[in-house]
């Protein structure tokens, strides 16, 4: 488990991280979402022990991270712009990773490299940006560390590669104790892989929720109720997060289970009523509007 409590980090006059407290459970894929400059990379660097926070504590399995070899041996940090040694090849980078991460699986790395269609002895500085990301991800996965911090790792990968990486992550989670933490500004990317999502904005965590839990307890309903009195009654009875009326069509996003909400709707004799699929983006927008933030413009 990764526990961050009261983390604060300032760069000059700018507060990059402002009092973040979050717990990342083992075995979950944690998605860290936020706009550019929200503090995602800074937070991951603090979790990795690269940066030292001014206040607060970060522990990994009860071990403080900063300058702690034992704690750092459990994590591997994949920066948004990975560094490769001048003139290095995937083979030489794997060799280096093998030295600093004793559990590094060289054989698996070679297999994955082959699967991804890259040569061991090709110079990395001749690779495209996407290929470099692939090498970075494969190196991270093959370190066999318990935690893998990926900073905008999926950005720059083509859709096929993204899927491949997601399936590798899923396989790793199934086969061993593996907890990836993925930072991205792309909600759609995180939606189909993450179990838990945290929203970062201007250095603070706005919300941190289990994805399934969010989806189970928030529903989007479209209905048509001819009687305006009954319509008002419905809006009062439900725990509405957001609603919109276009003509006679009423769209409601409300908290509650599907059965509970539909029961209420049926009791108002609707002409028409159905539950619609809700995207992570819509859930976030609704949740944050309730919290008083209008972040429609913030999330792409």
């Amino acid at each position: 488990m990764i526990r961050a409590e009261g983390i604060r980090k300032t760069f000059g006059c700018r507060k990059a991280i402002n009092n973040i407290t979050v717990t990342i459970q083992e075995g979950n894929i944690f998605g860290l979402v936020g706009t550019n400059g929200a503090g995602k990379s800074t937070f991951l660097r603090i979790l990795s022990g690269v940066l030292k926070p001014e206040a607060g504590t970060v522990t990994i399995d009860e071990l403080p991270v900063f300058e702690n070899e034992k704690a750092k041996a459990k994590i591997c940090f994949l920066s948004d712009t990975a560094y490769f040694f001048p003139g290095a090849t995937p083979k030489t980078m794997a060799h280096y990773y093998g030295i600093v991460y004793p559990e590094f699986d060289k054989k698996r790395f070679d297999e994955l490299l082959n699967k991804f269609g890259m040569e061991q002895d090709a110079k990395i500085n001749t690779f495209s940006k996407g290929m470099k990301k692939q090498v970075s991800v494969l190196l991270g996965i093959c370190t066999n560390t318990q935690y893998l911090f990926c900073d905008e790792t999926f950005d720059g990968l083509d859709p096929v590669m993204r899927q491949a990486v997601k399936s590798i992550f899923a396989s790793e989670i199934l086969n061993r104790n593996f907890t990836p933490v993925i930072a991205s500004h792309n909600l759609r990317e995180l939606e189909d892989i993450c179990d838990h999502v945290g929203l970062l904005h201007q250095g603070g965590i706005l919300l941190s929720r289990d994805l399934e839990d969010m989806k189970f307890h928030i529903q989007k309903i479209q209905c048509v109720i001819q009687n305006p009195v009954l319509e008002e009654e419905l809006l009062r009875e439900l725990d509405v997060m957001q609603h919109e009326k276009r003509g006679s069509l009423l769209t409601i996003i409300a908290r509650g289970t599907k059965e509970e909400i539909m029961e209420r709707v049926e009791s108002k004799y609707p002409v028409f009523g159905e539950v619609l699929p809700l995207s992570l983006e819509e859930i976030f927008i609704s949740e944050t509007e309730v919290a008083g933030y209008d972040i429609k413009n913030l999330i792409c």
Binding site: R45, G49, K52, E69, K72, I75, C76, T81
Partner: protein, 705 residues
């Protein structure tokens, strides 16, 4: 066990990644070591074979001693550059965010990482350096020029090179720790290596420019301290001392070792405190930005002010207007440049005005201390009861004496200081009175020079005119205090006062015995004597050892017993030059003027077969050509020739030697040059002489009217 393996593996990995640096160091040391050694030895042996300049195997060995020892400047320069390269390449990862992300996230303690880079940097230097030096020794041994002394010197040189490699290495690491950009780090290294020397030179220059009574002196301790301010200068200084027999700089080397260790401790301390996010910022510790900037721009602006202020002055003084302008403009410029380097944003320059203000206050405050002499430097006059002894130097009298060059210090020391250090007069009242007059005259020099300049500007000086400068004399005085401290000053005094002082001192035999250089010559070491007579003809005296000893002793006795009048009687009868064997490898030349009053010396020289006229013989003067530089300007100076016996006699009656053999009591007029063609028994020769100020013969003046 795992940690040890990790360290060795990390070290190996780093050495693999920076193997290009090892290759570069190897090539450089190989070229500057064994290759140049072979080339030079070949050339040396060729000289021996051809017996060029009486070159022997002993000379080759001596050269080789310097090459593998402490006299190989090229190799020393390579050591310095290698140190900077190793530090910059080893720690430049701290200046890159992507590299920091990798290296600070892996499960390796940062101290271990620091150590890996540190050790690999040392190995990149040490391995090729030691191997190449050993190779040089082997080459020398094969050529038959190696002795135990060579092995000792070579070992010492390796030790010294390693010590100063480490010092420069630590300084460069310090620069990399303090900065966050590679270029700024390299600039920082240059600043740290040179700042101490620059500030020390600034101090000297400020003293020279603002203090009327200052003159440059050198001391062992002062030289050592100044050298220690820069690791590179310290390296060359230490090598120079170690290469000089009997001058082992034990304390200096110990201090260097301590400084090296302290620098390493500082590097480690800063490394631990350095935030990873400092990468790609100009300064790693933002709070140091202002301090570093002020420390840099204050001395730099004072230098700029001095340069601008001394642009149009003929001595070491400064024009205060230009000085202030120079300081002001350079403060603003340098502040702008530094702030731009820090922030890459011109808007930040205006926001940091407080540090600019602080720098201005410091710069102008420092200037005010010197300009207004707030420390009372020029007014310094210790109480007589605090003085143990004093000495005085005047160019006219003391300038003719040269002393044994028995140390590097004296080689670098001006003739004034050497004389002052040689003598310590306990009964110093006459010197103290001179000093008192000098203190009262502290602003007189500038006034007199300014007056002289305007006099020349209004009406160009003509032949025969006397300038007001010649009524005054620059005297140099040393106070040897009872506390052990020596204080040196230069004063501008009335010419008569300085002459009176010297005259009184010359009645003191002890003074003369400590002043006259002949008293320091060991007659048994005299190799050769040469006599230059008044006609400036040079003759090597063919003397036996016994005759040499007799001549030296006679001259010494006569000079020690001579009165001031006798000693300063002019023109001199001749110059006795003595070549002395200082040690196995070096000789020195000393020149002593023979006054016409030294009758015993002159008689002995005659006895030894060398004729010396006590006065000019006009019969020997074939012709005289006089050049008048008063009228030259940009044109060829006018000349006048004299062949009439009457004119020649008149001219000969007024001429004197120039330079240190010129008249003591009067000033020499160097604007009129007298070239005499002598014809002595059919042998022609030329001699150059001068007139005394204001005593140019009428025939000469008429010739130029």
């Amino acid at each position: 066990m795992t940690s040890k393996i990790s360290f060795a593996k990390l070290l190996r990995e780093d050495m693999k990644r920076r193997s290009w640096l090892l290759a570069l160091c190897t090539v450089v040391f190989f070229l500057l070591g064994p290759v140049i050694c072979l080339m030079n030895l070949e050339s040396q042996f060729r000289r021996v074979r051809l017996n060029m300049g009486q070159y022997t195997l002993k000379d080759v060995k001596e050269w080789f001693l310097g090459f593998v020892g402490f006299n190989n400047g090229l190799l020393m320069a390579a050591v310095c550059i290698c140190a900077v390269l190793c530090a910059v390449t080893g720690y430049q990862y701290l200046h890159s965010r992507t590299k920091v992300d990798l290296f600070h996230s892996i499960p390796v303690k940062r101290e271990k990482f620091f150590l890996v880079q540190y050790v690999s940097g040392i190995l990149f230097f040490l391995i090729p350096y030691v191997l190449c030096m050993v190779l040089c020794l082997l080459i020398g041994a094969f050529q038959g020029v190696v002795t135990a002394r060579h092995v000792l010197y070579c070992t010492g040189s390796i030790g010294l090179g390693t010590l100063y490699f480490l010092m420069i290495y630590h300084v460069a690491i310090l620069a990399m720790m303090l900065t966050g950009k590679l270029l700024v780090g390299i600039l920082g290294t240059a600043v740290l290596c040179g700042a101490g020397t620059a500030v020390s030179m600034l101090q000297t220059r400020l003293f020279q420019s603002f203090y009327d009574t200052y003159f440059t002196t050198v001391s062992e301790t002062g030289t050592a301290i100044r050298s220690a301010l820069s690791p590179i200068k310290g390296y060359f200084y230490a090598a120079g001392r170690l290469g000089t027999k009997g001058k082992f700089p034990g304390v200096f080397l110990l201090a260097a070792l301590v400084i090296t260790i302290l620098l390493l401790v500082l590097d480690l301390w800063l490394y631990k405190r350095r935030a990873s996010e400092a990468a790609e910022s100009a300064m790693a510790f933002p709070r140091t930005e202002g301090i570093v900037k002020v420390c840099m721009i204050v001395p730099a602006s004072l230098w700029a002010g001095l340069l601008m202020g001394s642009f149009n002055t003929y001595d070491s003084s400064v024009n205060i207007g230009w000085f202030i302008f120079g300081v002001l403009i350079s403060l603003i410029l340098l502040h702008t440049i530094v702030e731009f380097i820090y922030h890459m944003d011109f808007r930040e320059i205006l926001r940091r005005k407080w540090s600019l203000l602080a720098a201005a206050v410091l710069a102008f405050g420092c200037s005010a201390v010197f300009f207004f002499d707030l420390t009372g430097y020029d007014s310094y006059l210790p109480r007589e009861d605090k003085i143990d002894g004093m000495s005085v130097f005047t160019s006219n009298f003391n300038g003719r004496f040269s002393y044994p060059y028995d140390s590097e210090l004296s080689y670098n020391t001006g003739s004034e200081q050497r004389t002052l250090d040689q003598v310590n007069v306990k009964d110093f009242q006459m010197i103290y009175d001179l000093a008192e007059e000098g203190v009262k005259n502290k602003n007189l020099r500038k006034e007199v020079y300014a007056m002289e300049e305007s006099r020349i500007a209004v009406s160009r000086a003509k032949i025969g005119e006397t300038s007001s400068e010649e009524q005054y004399d620059n005297v140099f005085i040393k106070y040897h205090l009872k506390s052990g401290r020596d204080v040196y000053r230069r004063y501008f005094v009335n010419y008569e006062s300085s002459e009176k002082c010297i005259e009184q001192l010359c009645s003191n035999k002890e003074y003369k015995e400590s002043l006259f250089p002949i008293n320091y010559v060991k007659e048994e070491n005299v190799a050769k004597c040469t006599l230059t007579d008044r006609y400036q003809r040079e003759t090597i005296l063919k003397l036996t050892d016994e005759q040499k000893i007799r001549l030296i002793r006679t001259f010494r006795e006569e000079q020690n017993n001579a009165s001031y009048e006798t000693m300063t009687q002019g023109p001199i009868a001749g110059v006795l030059s003595i070549e002395v064997n200082e040690d196995e490898y070096s000789t020195s030349m000393y020149q002593y003027s023979i006054s016409p009053g030294f009758t015993q010396t002159i008689a002995l020289l005659r006895e030894l077969g060398n004729e010396m006229d006590e006065q000019w013989n006009p019969e020997y003067a074939e012709s005289i050509q006089i050049t008048n530089y008063y009228e030259s300007g940009t044109n060829t100076p006018p000349t006048a020739s004299f062949t009439e016996k009457g004119d020649i006699a008149e001219i000969l009656g007024a001429i004197n030697w120039g330079g240190e053999y010129g008249p003591v009591k009067e000033s020499t007029d160097y604007s009129v040059e007298v070239d005499v063609t002598w014809n002595i028994d059919g042998a022609r020769s030329n001699g150059v002489y001068y007139f005394t100020e204001g005593k140019i013969p009428e025939c000469v003046i008429r010739a130029f009217e």
